[in-house]
Point group: C2
Chain length 523, copies 2
């Protein structure tokens, strides 16, 4: 009878423990089921014929059930406990980290009662419908009853997960349990200590930019280029980024995404734009940043284990944002990219110099919609969501009062008056499926990227010249060596301290933004 | 917890039996797992990056194991037995047929010892390697040891499956157990009564064609047309055939295939050719014939049950061959298709009339390679394989003597001297993975198609005129109504008799071939 290939034991673990070996085999099988679920999801977004969707739901539900059975099996719990008790095994730091994170995953998977998981899925589905309807009518109040019901369940979920103690040993708040799911170890109090100074520097900086008289040429954002050429240029950039196409793909979807579905199988997607090629380009660089992380994880040896997985959503996002914003929106990048763009797009590019491209890619333009926001204002969109989420989970803000709070924060941070809920608190899908605590990871990603970028520039001599010549290899290898290969061995902040020597702060990101934007706007 | 959607009970079965309902649910779940395996297979042939292949093997093996566990679960056996014992349930003929075929599938799945299944897989894998090597060297003797070992296992398999009693109550031969797997109820003796007269008429007919002085214009087989145009023309034909693209797809692969993987999801593939567009066209019509069958099966109600599955490989092949040969190689088809080909391919088509296309599509040309054979000579390739397989399994032919027997039969049937084993008995992959008994279903498909075609022409008035105007709807609907919607309710020969009023014979196919070919060659 066919079985899955057992993992090759690493030198540090072989012969040490039969329990550890069995644990790894069980986790690899669960992950194999998970990887099948990922293929079902990818196919659904790319090539599945529409009439297949009902059965695809059955397939996905079955795979989710098979995965859940394995992720919560009592045998897994026994094996983790047995490994924890074996001092010789835990003496190896990598193994100890692996078991530590297996424990975390197992506890997270088993803490929620089945009934609550079903209710969250059921009400989440209804809330998504209500959200769609409310957004179409731009009427938040239509959404209030379902969202209130869902938030009640999310609070119950947070209670079940339990609030970890903070670094100072103090009991955290309920919201921390939700943050912790996406960003292990992160707390609301810790985020506040970083977000508050960021906001205090960012909001006046944006006001300063807005007040400047400088006009940045945005013509290139509006030229129309054929989809096939947009894709050809995206592939040129992917190639330069060393995204491995023998272990990955690029396809077209409505919304771009990256699925690091399995060992040797990381698939990116791409969306054409009718307005210029920059949005698709940065979309693909963003997804390829995620993709390089997935390709850099040691999945051959550790597929299914924490040592083969990414650290957190925040660190994952740091990779995508670094390629999108720190590389892709740099002057050096455009020195390399502009001649290639000329080659692909033809004479239409003649009037745009590398400098024009660089400036156009860095226009600061406060706007209502998060997903359309520029690099600089983006973080303010996140911070207001963080504040609102935190207040809701703490019971300090009523659901019906969200629009008022939202609009007031947008005015305060971005200097804009929200015209309607559709362009305000109804714009994002996240809350409608119960994802509270997720948004912060986007700005954490920017912050990690900023702080890592300063260290990278110290550690890779001549990085700027390399980028300007299209030699992205040293950067990619630095990321492989310093971040990707560790899997989940270190928690996010620990990894950041190990690499940069400092705890996470707003300083590096602000230096990056001000250093780039001030000269463009002459301020 | 998510579960698969339970099937909607049909009016004839609702409330009759809790066991029957549970049985259907279990089978639907097993089929859902099977459908996931099909997606893995499809993706592997179409879009999977090469580096993913090792993990794809793990995924496929895991899915195969999960499927096998369900297909052989003791609970399934208990439920089938309980249904068989319930007279009120079995009084409904459709239900009785459903349970009859569930019993057959369950017995087939449980009769083989796990150890034998593993051995077949292991030796089959080695035999495939040996076959590739032997074919590359055109040296059958290199292949003999592995093939001998494999045939030993295949004989053991046949013994485990058991030889069903023939229609006359006499015990059949060992080979019947293998035939029965692909074509339920078929025996070697029965095939012989049909194949022998076919051969006796076909071999001299082909000799007559070969002796004719007529030269058929084959220029169109050699024109080069761009891949995109070949695909565009294929899509035009698929559309006319009413293949439902909202419930299916067309992609490109090295070898064309059809995967009716799930309800609402039937995927075809296509291969471009550098030599003319006819081979790709007939390839796609062939696969679309399979595809229309898959789309016509009542999968919404009966997915996972015999009533939602095809009758046999022979009947499946009758559908593909009917569209490929009886429709696609007809003069009427080319009256409709030729202007469309002109539209897609441009002025290169100007020198080819509908009549020229019809004639070029029906050239008779005895050749060595089965998959390149024309409609007329194809069946002789099958018949010699049938004779050799039967003799091997009966122990009347030694493996080492296959080349001599092969070459002698090719000379006898096709009038050709086989120059080497590569173009002789090493050309097909089938035996190397233990598929003995499979080949016959190809000619059974041609025979069923021929016999059905005569009835169809009686029952659809003006069919020829419809085809000539591109109105393929009535034919497709006739097939839906008379064949597809029944699923496995009737065995192949029973279905054939129900529809045509006669047991299967060589007569109709010979009338079809002679009626078409004689005028072309003026004989």
């Amino acid at each position: 009878m066919p079985t899955t290939t057992p993992p090759t034991p690493s030198p540090t673990t072989s012969g040490v423990s039969a329990e550890y070996a069995e644990l790894r085999t069980l986790l690899r099988e669960a992950a194999t089921i998970g990887s099948i679920g990922s293929l079902l999801g990818w196919d659904q977004e790319t090539y599945m014929p529409p009439a297949a969707s009902a059965h695809r739901g059955d397939q996905a539900a079955l795979v989710a059930r098979l995965h859940h059975e394995r992720a919560t099996s009592p045998r897994l719990g026994e094996l983790i406990a047995a490994c924890e008790a074996r001092a010789s095994l835990m003496a190896d730091p990598a193994t100890a980290a692996n078991v530590r994170e297996m424990r975390r995953d197992y506890d997270l998977a088993t803490k929620l009662p089945t009934e609550l998981v079903s209710e969250l899925a059921r009400v989440g589905s209804l809330a998504q419908e209500a959200w769609k309807e409310a957004r179409a009518r731009s009427d938040f109040q239509h959404y209030v009853p379902r969202l209130t019901e869902l938030i009640g369940l999310v609070r119950r979920k947070a209670q079940c997960l339990g609030t970890p103690k903070g670094a100072n040993g103090a009991q955290g708040e309920l919201y921390d349990a939700l943050l912790d799911e996406y960003e292990p170890g992160m707390t609301a109090a810790r985020i506040e200590t970083i977000f508050t100074p960021l906001r205090q520097r960012l909001a006046p900086f944006i006001a300063e930019v807005a007040a400047s008289k400088a006009a940045v040429d945005r013509t290139v954002l509006e030229i129309e280029v054929p989809p096939a050429k947009q894709e050809a240029f995206a592939r040129t950039v992917l190639h330069a980024m060393r995204f491995d196409m023998t272990a990955g793909r690029l396809d077209t979807t409505t919304h771009p995404f990256c699925s690091g579905m399995a060992p040797g199988d990381t698939r990116l997607t791409f969306r054409y734009s009718k307005d210029g090629f920059l949005e698709p380009l940065y979309g693909v660089m963003h997804e390829a940043g995620h993709g390089l992380y997935e390709q850099g994880l040691p999945k051959d040896e550790h597929f299914g284990e924490p040592l083969g997985e990414s650290v957190s959503l925040g660190i994952h996002e740091s990779q995508s944002r670094m390629w999108e914003n720190f590389v892709g929106r740099s002057r050096a990048f455009w020195e390399w990219a502009r001649p290639h763009a000329r080659e692909v797009f033809g004479p239409v590019m003649d009037r745009f110099s590398a400098d024009t491209m660089f400036r156009a890619a860095n226009i600061v333009n406060p706007s209502f919609i998060r997903v359309e926001a520029d690099e600089t204002t983006y973080n303010l969109h996140i911070m207001l969501r963080f504040q609102i989420e935190r207040a809701i989970i703490a019971g300090q803000l009523a659901v019906k009062d969200i629009p008022g709070e939202w609009n007031s924060l947008v005015e305060q941070y971005l200097g804009l008056k929200v015209p309607d809920d559709r362009r305000g608190c109804l714009q994002d899908v996240h809350w409608s499926f119960g994802a509270f605590g997720y948004f912060s990871t986007y700005t954490l990603g920017n912050l990690y990227a900023g702080q890592l970028w300063e260290t990278i520039n110290q550690q890779i001599p001549g990085l700027d010249a390399q980028l300007a010549s299209g030699d992205f290899g040293p950067l990619k290898e630095w990321l492989n060596t310093n971040i990707h290969r560790h899997g989940k061995r270190y928690r996010a902040e620990e990894l950041c301290r190990n690499i940069t020597g400092h705890p996470l702060s707003a300083d590096a990101l602000m230096r990056h933004l001000e250093g780039k934007i001030r000269p463009i706007y002459g301020i």
